[in-house]
Symmetry: C2
Subunit: 351 residues, 2 copies
Amino acid sequence: MSTINDVAELAGVSVTTVSHALSGKRPVAIETRKRIADAVERLGYQPSQLAIAMLTGRTMTLGALVPDIKNPFFGELLSAVESAADSRGYGTIVSSTELRRDHERRQVEMLCAKQVDAILLIGCSDDAAGFIPAGWKAPVVVVDQMPDSSQGFPTVRSDHERGGRIAADHLCQLGHREVGVLAGPPTMLVAAARLHGFLDQMKTHGLPVPRTRRIAATQFTLPSGLKAAHSLLTRRPELTAIFCANDLIAYGALHAASELDIDVPRDLSVIGFDDIFVSSMVQPTLTTIHQEITELGRRSVALAVQALAPGDAQPIDPLLEVSLVVRSSTATARTQDRPTQSRTMNNEVKR
Amino acid sequence: MSTINDVAELAGVSVTTVSHALSGKRPVAIETRKRIADAVERLGYQPSQLAIAMLTGRTMTLGALVPDIKNPFFGELLSAVESAADSRGYGTIVSSTELRRDHERRQVEMLCAKQVDAILLIGCSDDAAGFIPAGWKAPVVVVDQMPDSSQGFPTVRSDHERGGRIAADHLCQLGHREVGVLAGPPTMLVAAARLHGFLDQMKTHGLPVPRTRRIAATQFTLPSGLKAAHSLLTRRPELTAIFCANDLIAYGALHAASELDIDVPRDLSVIGFDDIFVSSMVQPTLTTIHQEITELGRRSVALAVQALAPGDAQPIDPLLEVSLVVRSSTATARTQDRPTQSRTMNNEVKR
DNA sequence: ATGAAAGCGCTAACAT
DNA sequence: ATGTTAGCGCTTTCAT
């Protein structure tokens, strides 16, 4: 890349004049301006954001750390973050820990070293905020995690607990009594919040879910959900409905059901959480708890930028409502029991 | 953030000593080293990559431009890019044009201004490479696009045309004679390559696909595929199989089929392209042309980094093989015709 | 209307 | 073993 010196030289003026001609912060003779414009054009000159950042202390770049960019939920969220950041003139460095908790510290430090103007910790480990180095002054926003884990940093999140309750209401309303749970990673507070809301609401309905009908997926991924679902459905054939900690786990459950010849929703209702885009499009369409993903991204960026440029700071509500989206993976509970016998036989045949 | 000056002051030494103590490029008294280490710890000091980049001309950051980060194909590809970049010490600035072609120039210029060490143009418009400014010296790698469009920049891509041929072979082998096509955006060369491979191979099999049985989705997205599929399936009820330009379009087709009460794969075989992760997991699992997405990302980064640090440059094959993955969305062609009558009636009832 | 020079945080000669 | 200084590309006083 050519520098401002090259432009100055080619135009036969000083760098100061070039700088001002480009920024317009000082009058420059029309004639001179033209020569400079020509030089800029010829060289394809772009001011180095690097050098500007050195001066201003602003890189105009946000850092976003997510656990798994392959998870469509984070893909959609990042998409919202990027477009919100972009519209305010910020770029976004995306870093994925690939679910490796030991990567988090490194990635956070890398973002800090790159001097990003703000850090978005999205769906990370609950102690990720602890990796922010001591003297770090720039804003940190903790997104889609429980505030308990945010070390005092501002938070934007959905009402996970309420989502769990809504899911419980839905299943009860459909008459399900034998209900199972595919919980998320036990160590993650959002998973715990969803689980707690669900279990507590089931209890309220007089249908507490015993431990034997719950199993935790080790990760918020489809394969992890598949494995857990397979185990739970095999062990608990009487279940007529399952609450899944997120949509990917729910897809794992659907897949397991299909392997076990369980028809969804006739024999088994499945409800997810997140409402990622594909959930409305594949068969069966997934009944799920809708998160306002785009708004989540927008508010996260707004919060970060607000801290960067304090001014007309209109308050940002950090808690987003969730809602139930009923699609075709849930239905009223069977009145008679499922033919458990044949299912077991099927399994045996399959193996 | 604290600077190297703060550390030097706190440790009571010069910045040079701090620099060398940290880099180990010059011996430093064990005693001094300890005082420096303490100061670093206390201040949470991290060397500013910004300042280092000014000196070395290396930001240790790659810029990746994709059209749509919500598309799981790009999510998976970016995931591979990031992890490959990360393992070589590079961060990644991800920029999504959100399918707005007019955004491309801006985004490319932004990446250049941020002085990224290399630019990965992934699945962009065929003229995106033209947006690289005149004096740009750093490597540019064009990924998942046809080389015709790469302006001489190195390319990494799958063999799209061959993918089309394999798909044609598969459908013919299943006995399909009434075959339709949901092509991708007509302006994109990869879409054209897939289409050409498919059509040409169908011709070879003696089953040319007339224009009336083809329709182009305007974008590589599900909604776009849905719309096109709905139109094609309504107009051409005799079709027993459809080749879709990518998996998302194929999901649109599945959705349209379901709306029109067409059973897949009994009444209609659907084949996609890309083999995104979900394609193996949702019902029906999608028969599709597999791209080695991870390898695509790995080689793109390898190519970029190789240009950055010329040395033991082992050649990188820019063309990746594709393969057919047969799942449950394709089946042998019906021998008798589909009850076209009733389907039309259904449609009319629906409207 | 235009220039010269300082300085952002760091590294790497060049001293001592 | 440690310190001094120039300079990366830019903006911004402070001159002229």
